[in-house]
């Protein structure tokens, strides 16, 4: 059985083929929801943003250019949505001059108590430490790490998604992983907590 490439599917979506859009939805709903979940933390908001990303893909289907990889285009849309959501949430929360919330904690973008309870039930202590360390990174570094580590993109594609140079991505990743290496030292040393 021949598997259609994302490009073929997207070209057919451009011509109005609903089945091809469904196939793209099937392929990318899981990675996209996970990406948003790691970017914005709140499960309900992550789903909402992922749905919005697919809607934007559909609405912009006539503007899709085949010279760009579909995933690059998709994650660029998704990253812009995530950044906007993070900034919106940060704008609603009073902060001190260094970007931290007034209570001294790093800004927690979304505080849905229900989602937090659900998350707390399924989250391990190690998972919590990693999440908090990645959430504390500046948003560009956070996006770079998540795209690299969890979406398994190479630095060239990350550069295309974030619209920065490849050397800038290498630098972003290095600084982010250095920060994480220090913050997650107990996990890196052998996993004892």
């Amino acid at each position: 059985m021949v598997v259609d490439s994302d490009l073929d599917l997207m070209l057919r979506v451009r011509q109005g083929d609903a089945a091809s859009f469904d196939e793209l939805l099937r392929r990318y709903r899981l990675p996209l929801v996970k990406y948003f979940c790691r970017m914005v933390r709140d499960q309900a908001l992550a789903e909402d943003l992922a749905q919005e990303a697919f809607l934007r893909v559909y609405k912009a289907r006539h503007r899709y250019r085949p010279d760009a990889r579909f995933t690059t285009w998709l994650y660029r849309i998704a990253t812009n949505l995530a950044f906007n959501a993070i900034r919106d949430a940060r704008g609603r929360r009073p902060q001190g001059g260094d970007g931290r919330a007034e209570d001294g904690e790093m800004p927690r973008e979304f505080v849905d108590p229900k989602a937090s309870i659900e998350q707390a039930l399924i989250e391990t202590e190690r998972g919590r430490m990693i999440r908090e360390a990645i959430e504390a990174l500046p948003e560009n570094q956070r996006a770079a790490v998540i795209l690299h580590k969890y979406q398994e993109m190479d630095y060239r594609q990350i550069a295309a998604v974030l619209k920065v140079s490849e050397s800038a991505v290498k630098s972003l990743l290095f600084r982010a992983y250095e920060t994480l290496r220090v913050r997650l030292e107990p996990l890196v040393r052998g996993g004892q907590l």
Binding site: D22, L25, R26, R29, L30, V33, K34, C37, R38, Q43, A46, E47, A50, Q51, E52, F54, L55, Y58, K59, I122, E123, T124, R126, G127, I130, R131, I134, H148, K149, Y150, D154, Y155, K170, S171, L173, F174, Y177, E178, L180, R181, L184, L187, V188, R189, G191
Partner: protein
């Protein structure tokens, strides 16, 4: 390669170096225990990050996306489609009717509320000379000015020469 070039070491561990640069780092690591230890920490960090799991999409995720697309399509058709134009026209007509009714009833309300000075409001009642000399309330004057404009418009249309040149219905 120097030992303090941690970025190069990091890029080597994550396979982001060109092959010739990677070869230089590989040779350095073979003879430098400190850098080899740091490289292992980068690998350990990469493995540790696997412990952060994320949620799965809800079972109704696809249905919600399709519903959003359908709503978006409907909105687009509603604005630009033929049905949309008819609906828009019907909506405008309904709105105009509502506005007209509101104007009529509010006008009646003003007239009823001003019964004591109705001497000037009703053309059917005789107006005494003394009442006629009384200055009109501001609202009443405003309403009369509006009526005057309508009369002026009617006069312009009634005396519009171009209309008289049009063939009349009973002309043979």
């Amino acid at each position: 390669m120097k030992c303090n070039d941690r970025e190069k070491l990091f890029l080597y561990v994550h396979q982001m170096l060109q092959s010739d640069e990677a070869e230089v780092v590989r040779r350095h690591l073979a003879g430098c225990a400190d850098c080899a230890r740091l490289a292992n920490k980068y690998r350990g960090l990469d493995a540790a990050l696997d412990d952060w799991s994320a949620i799965e999409p809800s079972p109704w995720f696809d249905a919600k996306v399709r519903a959003r697309i359908a709503a978006s399509d409907q909105k687009k058709r509603g604005l630009f489609g033929f049905g949309g134009v008819r609906a828009l026209a019907a909506g405008m007509a309904a709105l105009a009717l509502i506005v007209a009714l509101v104007v009529v009833f509010s006008h009646r309300g003003v007239v009823e509320n001003q019964q004591p000075v109705a001497v000037t409001a009703s053309p059917h009642q005789p107006v005494s000379a003394e009442a006629a000399r009384q200055p009109l309330p501001a609202e009443e004057q405003l309403r009369m000015d509006e009526n005057l404009r309508v009369l002026e418009d009617y006069e312009v249309v009634a005396n519009f020469d171009a209309l008289s040149e049009l063939p009349q219905a009973n002309d043979d």
